[in-house]
Each structure stands twice: as C-alpha cells, then as structure tokens.
Amino acid sequence: MGRKLLLEHLDKPGIETIDGYIQHGGYRSVEKALKKMTPDEVTEEVKKSGLRGRGGAGFPTGMKWSFLDRSTDKPRYLLCNADESEPGTFKDRLLMEKIPHLLIEGMITSSYALGCRTSYIYIRGEYMFILRILEKAIAEAYAKGYLGEKILGTGYSLDLYVHPGAGAYICGEETALIESLEGKRGNPRIKPPFPAVAGLWNCPTIVNNVETITAVVPIINDGGEEYAKIGIGRSTGTKLISASGNINKPGVYEIDLGVPVEEFIYSDEYCGGIKNNLELKACVPGGSSVPILPKHLLLKMSDGNPRLMTYESLSEGSFATGSMLGSGGFIVYDEKQCIVRNTWNFTRFYHHESCGQCSPCREGTGWMERVLHNLEYGHGKMEDIELLWDIQRKIEGNTICPLGDAAAWPVASAIRHFRHEFEYHAKYPHKVFDADHVYQPEMKMETA
C-alpha cells in the first residue's frame, strides 16, 4: 500500500512550476505519445488500463473515447470537467492547485489520442484562484513547446484554455457543462445525441473528469497493463478519496482500489479513526448523491466479508444494503449526528441546484426540503415519512439528467436505514425543536 501514481510528487518544492515538474519526470507521456505512438495506440493503452471515469459514474474511459465520432470533418473537443461540486468531494482541487502540470500533461496526451486541436478545462467559478494557477502553468507549457503549434517538433498542434463556471452544481453534468461553455444556462440536454457525436457547438466532444485525465499520464508512461495490475477485478488503478466529516485526519488520500473500508476509516495512514473518541455511525462513501450506509452495512458485505473500496464492493447488495464509490467523496458521521438534519441539508442543496427543467426534480426537491424541514424542526407528522418516500420514488428515473436520482437516493437510503430517527422526530417534536439537538440513543429504542 501507499503507492502513489498521481500524488507522488505532491510535496516536492517547485512542483507547481514546469521546471520542477519536468525534474520529477513530468511531460514524459507527451514525449512518448506524440513521438512514438499513434493516437489509436494511446486509446488502446487507456482501454487496457481498465480506467473508469473518476467523476462519479465510473464509465470505462477507453470505451467512452472510442465513441467519439471520427467520421466528420468537424473539429473535436476534449473538455475537462473541473466543476467539482459534489458535496464531500475536493480531490480535483488538490491536483490542480498543487500539481497543475499533471492535468495539463494529461490534457495534451488525451487530446492527441482524440485528435483535438483545441481543448478546454471547465472549472467551477469558486475555484478562480486555481484558474489563475492553471493559466500560469499553461503559459509555461506554451513557452516550453508543449502546447501551441507543432508540439515538440511533431506535426501535432493543440491550444488549451481554462473556462470558469459561476456557481452551478448542475454544470458538472456533461451536457450542462457544454451548454454553460457555450455561454448559456446550465440546462442538461436530452441524450441522444451523446456529446461524442454532437457536443460542444454540435461537434464531437469527450468530457472527462480531472482525475481521469491525470490518470492517463501514468497509464501512458508505464503502460495500461501495469496500471491494470493495481486494484481488484474491474476496479483498476488508484483512486483519490476525499475524506471529510467526523474523522481525525480529513484530507485527500490516494488509495489502491481494494483497500478495506474499515482500514480506510481507522488506519492512521488514512482517516485515523473517529474524532473525539466517538463511535462511527454512518457514512456516505461516494459524494452526497450516493446512499448513506449505517456502520454495519458499511464495513461488511451481505456475505459477511469486509467491504472494500472498489466500485463493485461498495455497490454490493445494490441499494437495499449497498451504496456506490461515486466520486470518492467519503463523508463520515459520528454517533451524535442527526440523520434527519443531514438529509434535510442535502435536500436543500439539491433543491437549490435543480436547474428547473423537469417538474419532478424542480417541484419534488423543494417539496422534500419543506417536509424535511418540518420534521427536523418539530412540526412533522408520521405520515410525512411515507410522503417523502413517495416523492423521492416519483423523482427517480423521471428526469432528463441524473440530478433527480441524486436528490432521491439520499432521502430513500436515509429512510431505509434510519427510519427510527424520522419516526422519533415525528413522535417527539419538542425534543428535536432545538437546532443543536444531537442524536439520542432513545431514538433507536423507541422503535426497536
């Protein structure tokens, strides 16, 4: 354990400059790809690596690349999704802030594979300070001949730009991101056509997350097969996990996919256990959208074996007893946290971020927020729990983009696994009236 492909040089002095980056082996993948490989060979390595999209969906990257429509004369675009805004996720920020050239290198190598002449990094507007870091690094890369006309004396040319968003979670959805980059509201498009056929300005477009693109660098340097040796089954390579909440050591950790969840939480190498000597209560392992799991389901799979940090293991038992790896936004809750309050908080988030195109999401998220607010502040009724269940069920699967599902899942899983806390809120309004209220052991005993 402890192998690092992306964060190896994180703390090296001067790594943010192009000279420091090259000193530590930077831009080798560009040299190798552009001088010794064809674009298809680069794509082939990415396929062999088994790399899956690190933004949350986990779709195989090489396969996504192979969907790019190469039959037209239109320009093709690679867009890097740096809109990182899934609550609990802050890994892309670290990569871009500390090692900006890793992303730029990945963009050049990937753009070469896809045959793009212009590529964009779409970064959330709140990360304006990182946009400036990236622009400085890009200027350095132009000056050294890694960007611009005839890169490193080869026939390949590429321009790379950074484009800021302006505060909209939905723009992390790839078609909304494209709309936003076109200077419009971030309303997701109906698919098909998929961006790989008709994306930015109606041209073939690939959208990949920051971490996905940076992973292309070690894949090309060491070969896809080497990368695929790390991990378990279809979960290959390393993954950045953003750990937050009630733990001793919050932060970003690069893990080999396959580390046991229990080790990740309690080992000093990672989260370092639960803060203030409290007990672990629950965890949202892949960003706010994925189902919350109570301790016993989080640590063990249904066969009693330890649950692992992989796409497959975290989703084992599907939504009845499992969750998802998602973006790797790992939010940990101690025994004092109120699940109703957390669910209300997340629902307010989705209501705020709903673009408003689809009624189930636009109306449903607001409705759930109001019902949860009432429950949380001591004005709830027992029937509210069934009502919430009904609303979330009618949002899921009935919207253009996955934001609807993302809003429904946290509510469904909270009721599924912590129904007693919702019932307690309805039954004893005076006890939850205080906004500072913490989880009380009797909540469980009442309905056990």
């Binding site: 609550p87 507007g125 709140e126 484009h163 909209a168 980059l181 509201r185 946290q337 908080n345």
Partner: protein
C-alpha cells in the same frame, strides 16, 4: 454603488476581455459571457445591475436577454447590491457536521445582521452558499477569490477585522 454609475471597463479589464475572446472560435463569442460577467462584477461594485448587463450584451454583440438569463441562473452573480466584503459561508452537509452553523450564527451576531443582509455601513454582506469543495478543511468561507478554512470563532473575528481594515485602507488610498 450609486444608482447612476458610469459603466465602462477599465483598460486592464479590456485587455483581459480581448484575451478571453480569443479562446473561442470567431463565431462563438457568446461563450465569453461567463468570464466577462465575472470581470464585470469585479469592476462594478460586486454585483450586476441591468445597466451593467446591457453593457456586457453590447460588448459581446448579444441580446440583453441572453445575458440576463445567464446572470440569473448562476449563483455567483449577484443581481442585487452587496457590501464591499461579501462573506460566502458554506452550509452544506460536510461543513454542517463540522460546525458551520455555529460559525454562521457567530458571524451574524458579530456583524448584527442576518444571512442575506448587509451592514448599515455597506461593509459586509453574509451569504450562505452550497458546497465549495473544502469539505476536508471545514468549516470555511470564501471572500473574493480566497478560501478561509478550519474556521473557529476566534479565527473568524480576526479575519473579519483584518479584512475590514484592509478595505478601509484601500478606500483611503
């Protein structure tokens, strides 16, 4: 923040805008709306008046409605005046369970205003925002481009006092 402000980008902003326009194909200049609105907000008092949006529309050869619909969609654009120092406090889950609510009430008590309000001297506005990608360093707020993380009540006092002093100095110069 007077009602009839003179709206014209500074020469430095115009240089930046022409650089930005070159990033997009000649017939796709509409893409520059978001970055240009960020600059406009910075140049014209921290918010976008209708006059400012109309000015941006003329500059980019767009219909005003194309700018309005964008400005009203994205939460970073303020369509109402704000104080000289806008405090954007993250209130989403991971920050909440690490004490964001206490930080928000502390700022409210210190400044004697509620979230969404501006101090009578026009110095501070408090705004709550959704996840800013600092969950591991919670609680936090953003002022301008800067993130202030691992906040405590004492740290908040210190930061706000310092920001106010800096702003007053900037105004006096």
């Amino acid at each position: 923040m007077s009602e009839t402000q003179h709206i014209e980008f500074s020469p430095a902003a115009m240089v930046e805008i022409s650089r930005i326009l070159k990033q997009y194909p000649a017939d796709k200049q509409k893409s520059a709306i978001l970055p240009v609105l960020h600059i406009a907000q910075q140049e014209f008092g921290g918010w976008l008046s209708v006059d400012t949006m109309d000015y941006v529309a003329r500059l980019l050869h767009l219909q005003p409605i194309e700018v309005y619909e964008v400005a009203t969609f994205y939460s970073m654009y303020n369509t109402k005046p704000v104080g000289k120092i806008l405090i954007e406090v993250c209130q989403t889950g991971p920050c909440m369970i690490c004490g964001a609510e206490k930080i928000i009430s502390h700022i409210e008590n210190k400044l004697r205003i509620k979230v969404g309000e501006t101090t009578p001297d026009g110095m501070f506005t408090i705004k709550t925002v959704e996840c800013l990608g600092a969950c591991g360093y919670a609680p936090m707020f953003q002022v301008g481009e800067k993130f202030y993380e691992h906040l405590t009540e004492e740290k908040v006092d210190q930061i706000l006092d310092q920001l106010k002093q800096e702003k007053l100095q900037e105004i006096n110069n």
